[in-house]
Amino acid sequence: MTVTPHSTGAAPAPATAAGAEHIALEARGVNFYYGTHLALTDINLRIPARRITAIIGPSGCGKSTLLRCFNRMNELLPKTRIEGQVLFDGDDIYHPRMDPTEVRFRIGMVFQKPNPFPKSIFDNVAFGPRVNGYKGDLNALVEETLQRAALWEEVKDRLKKSAFELSGGQQQRLCIARTLAVQPEVILMDEPASALDPLATLRIEDLMQELRRDYTIVIVTHNMQQAARVSDYTAFMTTEGGGKPGFLVEFGSKDQIFTTPKDPRTNDYITGRFG
C-alpha cells in the first residue's frame, strides 16, 4: 500500500460540513485502488466527534472499503493503494511516520460477525490492553469496560468461561467491549448487527446510543432502517454500476437525509427505487 498525494492539487471542500461540530475524522479527496481497480473516487467526508455517523449505499459501493481506510485496515490486503488524505484530529494517518498499529489502537473497529477470540471473556477484553502494554489495574479496566458495554451484569460471574458460551448478541457486545478496552477515540463498525436477531440488534443499537456520549462512532449498515434509527449523521454513497468506483452522493443529518434528501438519487435509494 503506497500513499500518493491526491493529484488534483488543493483538496476540495468536504461534501457537507456538519455545522459547528468538532470534526474527528476527515477524508480529503480519497481515491482507493484494489490493484488497478479504482474502488473509491474523490471521497470528501467529515465525521463529527461524539456522534454516530452512518454510511449507507448499495452493495459494492465501497462502504466497507471507506471504513477500513479510516484505520488503515485496508493495507492488510495486498496490492491496495490510497490517494488523498485521511485526517484524524488534524493529522494525516497515512503519513509515512505514522505507525499503523498506533492508528488502529486509537481508532477501533467492530466487525460484521461477532469474532471473539477463543479465550475467556476476561482475556478477550484484556487482549488489547495486554498487547498495548497497559500498566494500570487490568481487573478494574476489564470490569469498567464490560460495564460500559452493558455486559457486566450478564457475565460478571463467569469471566473465566469461554467467550463462545455467550449468545451471538452478547458476543458482539463483548467485541465492542474488547474495542473499548484500549480506550480508542473512534469506533468503526461494519454492519455490526447484520448477523444478529432483532432483539440483539436493538440491544446493540441501544448500546451505541450510550457510547456516543464518549466516542465517535462510524457505522456501515445495509439496513437503512437501522441507519435511520441510530445515526446522527448519514452519508449516502453509490456507484454507477458494478465495478465502477464508489462516490459520496450526500451527507447530512439523518433527519434531513431520511425526510428531505437533497439529491434525487438519495431519495430514490431510501424510498426503495433502485436502478
Binding site: 437503512m224 434528501p261 434525487p264 438519495t266 430514490d268 431510501i270 424510498t271
Partner: protein, 238 residues
C-alpha cells in the same frame, strides 16, 4: 408515483421500478384522495346551487350523502396508516402519505361545510330570499376553483401552482367581507331580515372556510414537495 420536477421521474421509466407493490399502493392512495376531492367539490357546488334554487330535496340529499365522504375519509386514513405501518416509507414517499393524511381531514371538513350550507338552506326553507344570490355563488365558484387547483398542484407536487392558489384566497376573503357588510346593512335596514341574513353570513363563512382549507392543502403540497412546512395563508378565525 407522481411525476416531479426533480430528476427522479426519469428513473421510473429508464430503470426497473422496484417495490412495484408499494408504488402501486401509493398511486392508489392519491387516486382515492382525488376521488374524495371530487366528491367534496360536487357537494359544495350542489349545496350552493340547492340554496340558490331553494331545492330542499337536493339539500337533504347533500346532507345525507356526507356520510359517503366521511367513509371515504376513513378509508383513506386507514390506507395511510397501513402504508406507514407496513411499507416504511421515507423521504418524499413519507411526506406524501403524511400530507394525504392531513389533506383528507381538510377535504372531509370541506364536505362538512357543504353539508352545513345545505342545513342552512333547509333552515331558510322556502321563505323568499332577501335578495337574489349573486355574490355567494361567485364566492362558491372561487372556492371550488381553489380546491380544484390545490388538489391538482398536490398531485403534480407543483410548488409554484400551490403558491398561486393562495393568491385567490384573498379574493375570496374580500368577497366574504363584502357579503358580510352587505348582509349587515340589510339587517340594520330591516330587522326582519336578521334571521335569514345571519343564515347567509354563515353560508359565506362556510365558503370562506372551504377556501381557507384549500390553502391548507397547498401548504401540504409545498411540504410534500420540499419538506418545508410553512403557513402560507394567514389564519383567520374571524
Amino acid at each position: 408515483m407522481t411525476t416531479s420536477p426533480g430528476g427522479s421521474a426519469r428513473q421510473q421509466h429508464d430503470f426497473p421500478v422496484i417495490r412495484k407493490g408499494f408504488a402501486h399502493e401509493l398511486q392508489g392512495l392519491q387516486d382515492d384522495m382525488l376521488e374524495l376531492g371530487s366528491m367534496v367539490e360536487k357537494a359544495v357546488s350542489k349545496s350552493v346551487d340547492a340554496l340558490k334554487r331553494q331545492d330542499l330535496e337536493s339539500s337533504r340529499r347533500i346532507i345525507d350523502d356526507d356520510r359517503f365522504i366521511n367513509n371515504k375519509r376513513y378509508e383513506i386514513e386507514e390506507k395511510c396508516l397501513r402504508l406507514l405501518a407496513t411499507q416504511q416509507p421515507m423521504a418524499r414517499d413519507l411526506r406524501i402519505i403524511v400530507a394525504v393524511l392531513h389533506i383528507t381531514v381538510d377535504l372531509e371538513r370541506q364536505g362538512d361545510h357543504a353539508a352545513g350550507i345545505a342545513k342552512i338552506a333547509l333552515r331558510i326553507g322556502v321563505e323568499p330570499l332577501i335578495k337574489p344570490l349573486v355574490d355567494i355563488p361567485r364566492m362558491a365558484v372561487l372556492a371550488l376553483d381553489m380546491l380544484h387547483r390545490s388538489l391538482d398542484a398536490f398531485i403534480k407536487l407543483d410548488v409554484a401552482a400551490a403558491k398561486a392558489v393562495v393568491g385567490a384566497d384573498d379574493e375570496v376573503d374580500n368577497l366574504h367581507n363584502q357579503i358580510y357588510r352587505e348582509l349587515l346593512t340589510y339587517m340594520l335596514q330591516d330587522p326582519r331580515t336578521i334571521n335569514q341574513a345571519t343564515y347567509l353570513t354563515w353560508v359565506a363563512h362556510n365558503l370562506e372556510r372551504i377556501a381557507d382549507r384549500s390553502t391548507n392543502i397547498c401548504e401540504r403540497t409545498i411540504f410534500a414537495a420540499t419538506g418545508k412546512m410553512e403557513e402560507i395563508g394567514a389564519s383567520k378565525y374571524f
